[in-house]
């Protein structure tokens, strides 16, 4: 059997983490290909429904990543995102999701190295956790 390759959905804000990802790419830094980046204007627009949808469709992990506190280009989107992630970290484990499958990080525009680090680390962690419970479910 092939080794388990987790799929990771990352919602990244245009101004910080996406730019960091871009920088990681142009700097030829390595990060695993398991991640699908979804660029959003701000983490403040990541409604919990998109995180839930990703998990129900079989994502093994979800990362939400944006600007450091104080750096959000829309002033406070990242603070709102933090509350929503706190909320999801209460709801999802109630239904058997391992809390570690959902991560929130702040990665600034110049942190290409940090970006490659976090993705690598998260993919390793997801490998350890194994496939998400919704993987083969016929219910979406």
């Amino acid at each position: 059997m092939d080794a388990f390759e987790p799929s990771l959905i990352a919602f990244v804000c245009n101004w910080c983490t996406y730019t960091a990802a871009d920088l990681a790419g142009t700097s030829r830094l390595y990060y695993p290909p398991n991640v699908r980046l979804i660029r959003v204007m701000c983490t403040g627009m990541v409604d919990p429904q998109y995180v839930i949808k990703a998990f129900l469709e079989g994502a093994d992990g979800v990362l939400v990543s944006g600007c450091h506190p104080g750096d959000c280009h829309y002033i406070n989107g990242n603070y709102k995102a933090r509350r929503r992630i706190r909320l999801l970290k209460e709801i999802l484990p109630r239904f058997g999701f391992d809390e570690r499958r959902l991560r929130l990080t702040w990665i600034g525009a110049s942190d290409g190295i940090e970006f490659s680090h976090i993705i690598t680390e998260l993919v390793e962690e997801l490998k350890g956790l194994g496939p998400v419970q919704t993987q083969n479910s016929m219910v979406i």
Binding site: I52, L56, K80, E90, F97, V139
Partner: protein, 378 residues
């Protein structure tokens, strides 16, 4: 504030006393109408009625153990703009809590309102109440209320009240301007009415009631009611958590859901004017369904049932007042309230929030602090 008043019992009947009390209110010059649960003339059922002519208060029945819908939405609609005159509304405590949540969202306006609340003895589901109302005569409300207040069984014809009512830990109308106390009061001596606000106090002092004082048995009687409900609630939560602690089990719990969205329509705090599930945000392309079916071998249709419930939990569990109208509305008897309560108790706790407690408290997902929850980042 916190003045106490007493109304003499009319012909030994709680219902007649309440009707007389409401009539005195409606007779006041500045009160235009009263919204109150009434018996329908065409069928033995209870519905909220907007009463302008006091003679119709002969049908008022705010103690019937019937809770056809959460009226917070109706009050929200009635206060959307100034209607011209003051409106008194008789609501259950959970309806008031829902209304408070709507006020926070600018979907309800309490200025021209007088909130009248009674201690809530609980209610049957719509389906059960219909059967009971068809089998019993018009004395049922009165008798049932006295029985429950005297500690007798809440069951009627072998049926008990809804799980929402049996597990409700906020059965007194803390938000009301005028609070009619049933628990722990000696009704034989008259109906005890407490002013809950300046507005309520002013109103009550114009009504030629006797002044009274706090009943000594009140607190322990309320505690006793809450203790029973709390233990019911703990048992219910333990059971539903055990039934839904994995996605496989949650899928079984929600297996009968057909995405009719009745539960959302009935929910007083599902406040979006246009729900995302009524838009085409999740209206997938036809090939997407086939791709899922290819990948998984088969998918249950309609899709997005569990997704719908998890999303609703994320969107509004912090505002859930536990009224149980979701379960009441489900055509497939899915215990929706049980699921929502098991989650809302947790989500309200983490934000140190209680839906409907205080109109000054901001809904947790609309506010934030700069230094909080730092442990979840990284």
């Amino acid at each position: 504030m916190a003045g106490y008043f007493k109304a003499d019992l009319v012909e030994n009947s709680l219902l007649k006393t309440l009707r007389a009390f409401l009539k005195t209110m409606l007779d006041m010059d500045d009160i235009r109408s009263i919204l109150v649960p009434c018996r329908l003339p065409m069928k033995p059922r209870i519905m909220p009625m907007l009463v302008s002519d006091a003679s119709y208060l002969a049908n008022a029945d705010p103690i019937a153990p019937s809770f056809p819908l959460n009226s917070a939405r109706i009050v929200s609609r009635l206060t959307r703009k100034t209607a011209g005159g003051v409106l008194a509304v008789v609501l259950r405590p959970c309806e008031m809590r829902a209304f408070v949540e709507l006020v926070k969202l600018n979907q309800g306006h309490p200025d021209d309102l007088i909130l009248v609340g009674l201690d809530c003895i609980g209610a049957f589901s719509n389906r059960d109440y219909a059967g009971i109302a068809d089998r019993h005569d018009s004395d049922f409300s009165e008798n049932y209320c006295w029985n429950v207040l005297s500690g007798k069984d809440t069951k009627t014809d072998g049926t008990d009240q809804t799980p929402a009512c049996r597990t409700c830990m906020q059965p007194v109308p803390d938000q009301a301007d005028i609070r009619i106390q049933l628990f722990g009061s000696r009704l034989e001596d008259g109906l005890c009415i407490q002013a809950g606000s300046e507005k309520g106090e002013q109103r009550l002092s114009r009504m030629q009631l006797k002044s009274s004082e706090r009943s000594l048995q009140r607190d322990s009687a309320v505690e006793q009611v809450i203790r029973v409900r709390q233990s019911n609630c703990e048992n219910m939560i333990a059971e539903v958590e055990q039934k839904t602690d994995s996605m496989e089990k949650l899928n079984r719990y929600l297996a009968d859901c057909v995405n009719c969205y009745n539960c959302r329509v009935a929910c007083p705090v599902c406040y979006c004017k246009e729900c995302v599930f009524a838009t085409d945000v999740f209206c997938h392309e036809p090939y997407q369904y086939l791709r899922w079916a290819d990948r998984k071998g088969a998918i249950k249709m309609p899709t997005d049932t569990v997704f719908y419930h998890l999303t609703r939990l994320a969107h509004m569990s912090t505002a859930c007042v536990g009224c149980g109208q979701c379960s009441n509305a489900c055509p497939n008897d899915i215990p929706v309230m049980e699921l929502f309560k098991s989650v809302s108790l947790r989500t309200q706790k983490i934000f140190d929030y209680q839906a409907g407690r205080d109109v000054q408290e901001k809904p947790p997902l609309t506010s934030f602090r700069e230094n909080e929850y730092e442990d979840i980042v990284g």
